[in-house]
Symmetry: C2
């Protein structure tokens, strides 16, 4: 059914849109304030919330990892800060151009867009991307705008198919008609570009592994079970996380997550659910506290009569990482402690792929349906 | 327009399809031959073409890298070969099941599917995937079947949008209606599953980088220039290569490739064009000798008035790799030698992203159109 409704991507009226206008205002405020200080002959500065571990905490009520209020001043007249001060305004001016032109670019492209040699010197505005990326994060915090709102994106990753029709950049796309390929989840999934048109799905299933997505898609799992099927293709990219949060808020469907039974799988789930320490200031817009951990659970080994062929010995790093995760406040619940203890006691991990030791479509026909039927998940 | 024509993926009649039947015959021949030898009381063996550098050559006429005819016998009654002999037939039997059930799995899943502990022993059929992957390649060679024909796939990667309508697994998909997301190129792009319905494209453009794909897609490049736009997202996966070869043969459109100006970009182009040494036996089905190298060329630096901000110093590894590539017989042509010499002389590389040092949409509005207009490409 996907018919083109408009051939325009971001229309020229994009800058008039509320969110873009809001972001522009924030950037202009930043500049105006610095400019006024200069006019007064004073030292211009910007306040930036500290993105350090000591300024991060778990909000027990909201169930997300949050950035605290501790802030630091970045001054122009300070030899250790002047360069970063200049860089912050350079990036801000680049973002202003992007918003005004209704275009989006990658954070690497932003590095190139703003990189040049200062007039009459050998000094580059940025030496490499390792210099511009943290400045982007600074700007997100001090302008209180996600990088997507600054029209910047990280690399995209992930696919989605199933019982959902979306409108994206003027195209109406039926995700039930994607063949075996799936729709590539865009880098930026804000509502200016991507809207949900209709859905008769009953739940959402996100799987970590691409090959499991393929297995479920080839078996038409989403059709039989009336659901939306996503793969994050490993750690979820920002686009996939925003999409999931928006589906949670707008479609109000239960969301199940299926990852490998290893510390990395637990971490993928954890970031989806309560956000990450590194990007704590974005949890509000990225984390989805309502998601449910469908598997794989360490207890699935006995529950599904798996054999040693399905297991891989834990490495030292796995054990250390599992112990670290066990100590996170958001895994304090008794059921989670038991889950992680079982992983450590087993001394082995299991990939979802290992369910193929049972049979090709065991994951589609028995494992997931039984888990859903028995409400056998953790939250 | 994408309307569902059939809700079935591989139908149960899949096994009756010609190609699947052909592959089944090949696998059965392999087994029958070994079985007959056993009945005679002799030592069963299989002949496998050697996948070594000394058995690989560049076919000047076909312009592809090919595997030679040197073969090696794999015997059952030979302590150093018995394990691999057993493994080859295990994988073959797994593939037979897949074809019969009309299902496809990843090579990692095949490892799990066939992994088990031999009865009354501690011996595993496979210890890890590093043991099963080469066996799959052996089977491809000795059964003369691509792994896709054996119903196996490597991880998928890559997106496509633009002036093409495809039918995939029963769905009709208009690639001009994909919003910003793009259609995920399936792992397996054989004609049983994927057919081209119609296209009014005038050429195909493949870009290495996802962010450049995004830039071109957001600027609706494929609409203004009536083309099909693909990204390989780095080194092209097998699905993307098969898709490109089939588009070449069936749509008969010129294909342009845009990669970074560095040895890695040249290598991506090279593999697309003439195949790779590692997978030489697949060139016939994967390589696309007609593709054209649109850029980035080392000469673009002067041609487009780029600045030092667009450059990155070559590393020692870059220089060594460039010299290696320069010595490949398929880069012997004078123009290619000049191209690689210019890269080495510059002592810098350039990413396509670096075109943003000019302006956000320079790549869309000036760089590519000028190159196409001037027929400024290498073959």
């Amino acid at each position: 059914m996907a018919s083109r409704k408009s051939s325009q991507f971001l229309s020229s009226s994009a800058v008039k849109q509320t969110r873009d206008q809001l972001t522009l205002n924030k950037l202009e405020q930043l500049a105006t304030s610095a400019y006024r200080t200069v006019l007064k002959g004073a030292n211009p500065s910007i306040m930036i919330r500290q993105r350090t571990l000591s300024n991060v905490s778990f909000n027990e009520k909201r169930k997300i990892i949050e950035l605290g209020k501790k802030s630091q001043s970045r001054d122009f007249f300070n030899t250790s800060m002047a360069r970063k001060f200049m860089q912050t305004f350079l990036i801000a001016s680049g973002c202003k151009t992007l918003i005004e032109e209704g275009k989006t670019i990658s954070i690497r492209q932003m590095f190139y867009m703003m990189k040049h040699t200062l007039h009459n010197s050998n000094e580059n505005t940025f030496e490499d991307q390792a210099e511009s990326d943290p400045i982007i994060e600074d700007l997100e915090v001090c302008a209180d705008a996600l990088r997507e709102e600054l029209h910047l994106f990280a690399n995209r990753r992930g696919l989605v198919v199933g019982k959902l029709v979306v409108r994206d950049a003027g195209d109406e796309i039926d995700l039930a008609c994607m063949g075996r390929g799936g729709w590539g989840i865009p880098s930026i999934c804000e509502d200016e570009n991507l809207q949900f048109v209709k859905s008769d799905a009953q739940f959402i299933l996100l799987v970590e592994k691409q090959a499991i997505f393929h297995r479920l898609n080839e078996d038409r799992f989403w059709q039989r079970h009336r659901c939306i099927l996503m793969t994050s293709e490993g750690q979820a990219a920002r686009g996939a996380r925003r999409l999931l949060q928006r589906m949670d808020q707008e479609l109000k469907l239960p969301i199940y997550v299926l990852v490998d039974n290893d510390p990395w799988g637990l971490y993928i789930y954890s970031v989806l659910k309560q956000g990450s320490i590194n990007l704590a200031y974005e949890s509000m817009r990225m984390a989805v506290p309502s998601i449910r951990f469908l598997g794989m659970s360490a207890f699935d080994y006995e529950k599904f009569n798996l054999t040693p062929a399905a297991t891989i010995k834990l490495t030292k790093e796995d054990i250390a990482r599992a112990q670290q995760i066990k100590a996170y406040p958001w895994f304090r619940d008794k059921k989670w402690q038991e889950e992680i203890d079982a992983l450590l006691r087993h001394q082995f991990k299991m990939e979802v792929d290992a369910l193929l030791t049972k049979s090709i479509s065991f994951v589609t026909e028995e494992y997931i349906p039984k888990k859903l039927r028995d409400k056998d998940y953790l939250t």
